[in-house]
Subunit: 244 residues, 2 copies
């Protein structure tokens, strides 16, 4: 059930310009433009005055989500031959997280293609990432898995993601430190040494003690964040590499 977006545009010329914009962003000529037009059609469009609009991108988003999951599963499977199943799942989740997708969608300029009715014309962040997922679904339907996989890997993931940085940023230093401590029979203890700021803008300062010795200090808006920072410092100081 493909929807012909012509109804949204007042003239054929307007419609052609829109299709040209899609081509420019994609860098290839679609076989069936309708898939892509559907990918950028937010559900709010059909619930607005444009009653003649039928369908929206949520079904394509469902499909694209699965395509993207497999593409990234394949990457992490190949790139991390020593990671176990649970770690592969976690690594994939870090790569395809919501804010990441929203960010990529904006960098690609997808937000300029999305058709919908938004309060004060401001697109909610997730609408962008969802459109990216729907676009992946559109490419899959239009050009098949093989093309889609190559395209997404080359033009989206490799270009817009720094895998190494992503994985470093998302390291769970506290857990890593505890695993290291257990393996090396060390004791770990956190100690709140103080806080600063007003009641509403409090920041905590926490020390991490390994075998009773201060091995790192962290500061953060919550105790959890301060402990994370303290753990990160300790990991770097003690040269503890990724354990999980």
């Amino acid at each position: 059930m493909l929807y012909n977006l012509l109804k949204v545009f007042k003239t054929d010329k307007e419609h052609k310009i829109y299709r040209k914009k899609i081509e420019n962003i994609l860098g290839f000529k679609p076989v069936n433009y309708a898939y892509y037009e559907m990918a950028f059609l937010h559900s709010s469009a059909s619930s607005s005055q444009k009653k003649n609009i039928n369908g929206h991108n949520e079904r394509l988003e469902f499909l694209g989500d699965s395509v993207l999951d497999l593409i990234v599963a394949d990457i992490v499977y190949q790139q991390f031959p020593d990671k176990k199943e649970g770690e592969l799942t976690r690594t994939r989740a870090i790569i395809v997280n919501r804010s990441q997708l929203n960010q990529i969608a904006e960098t690609l300029g997808l937000d300029k293609l999305i058709i919908g009715n938004f309060v004060r014309n401001v697109l909610p962040e997730d609408v962008k990432g969802n459109a990216l997922e729907a676009l992946v679904g559109a490419i899959y339907l239009d050009k098949g898995f093989q093309f889609c996989q190559n395209y997404i890997q080359k033009n989206i993931l490799n270009k817009h993601l720094n895998f190494q940085e992503l994985l470093t940023e998302n390291r769970d230093y506290k857990s890593e430190l505890f695993m290291w401590a257990q393996r090396n029979k060390k004791s770990i203890r956190f100690e709140t040494v103080g806080d600063k700021g007003s009641a509403t803008k409090k920041r905590y300062i926490i020390n991490i003690l390994i075998n009773g010795k201060v091995s790192g200090t962290g500061e953060g808006v919550s105790k959890k964040k301060a402990e994370h920072m303290a753990s990160k410092n300790a990991c770097h100081k003690l040269n503890i590499n990724r354990q999980i």
Copy 2:
């Protein structure tokens, strides 16, 4: 990191017989047998006396799970053009549920290929379904997505699943009835009319009243199950078709 299963077999002949069994179940000759051998290697094998075994099927299971998710996402997307995103997700979950996979794995005879160390040599049910997922991962790596998709669809899903029956069995009659009632401005109420059996083997009997009139009765080991049965009866009686 592919593992050569030769270590498991005492002789080359034994190994050849094992590969022949794989071929017979698959119905095609693999390019790289090592993927398939890994798919049937349960983690318990390497933790047993066979210390020389390296690796197991869990990583392949991670990959195969994503492949299967996409194959089934594609099917439900194409087969149910009117279903919304949430319904597609639910429908897929019904199709690829755990006990379903375990059952298919057994029907295919995968349980006879699995290598591992199990208490009293009895394979836990999930080990079978996991091996099926790992097998899907192996086919994907060995022959690519296109082949894998065709193969799984034709030889596994179409042959071993009755989609229509599955979806009927898994209907959420109670929710459907409430949606129907809301749409048609009817009131719904459940009434426990009794129970039977001993304290440990109790069975509940529940009536469903629509606008005060008994419209169905259900019996079950829990109130929830009895309500489900009562709702099912009412749906059939009132000819209420699938709402979700």
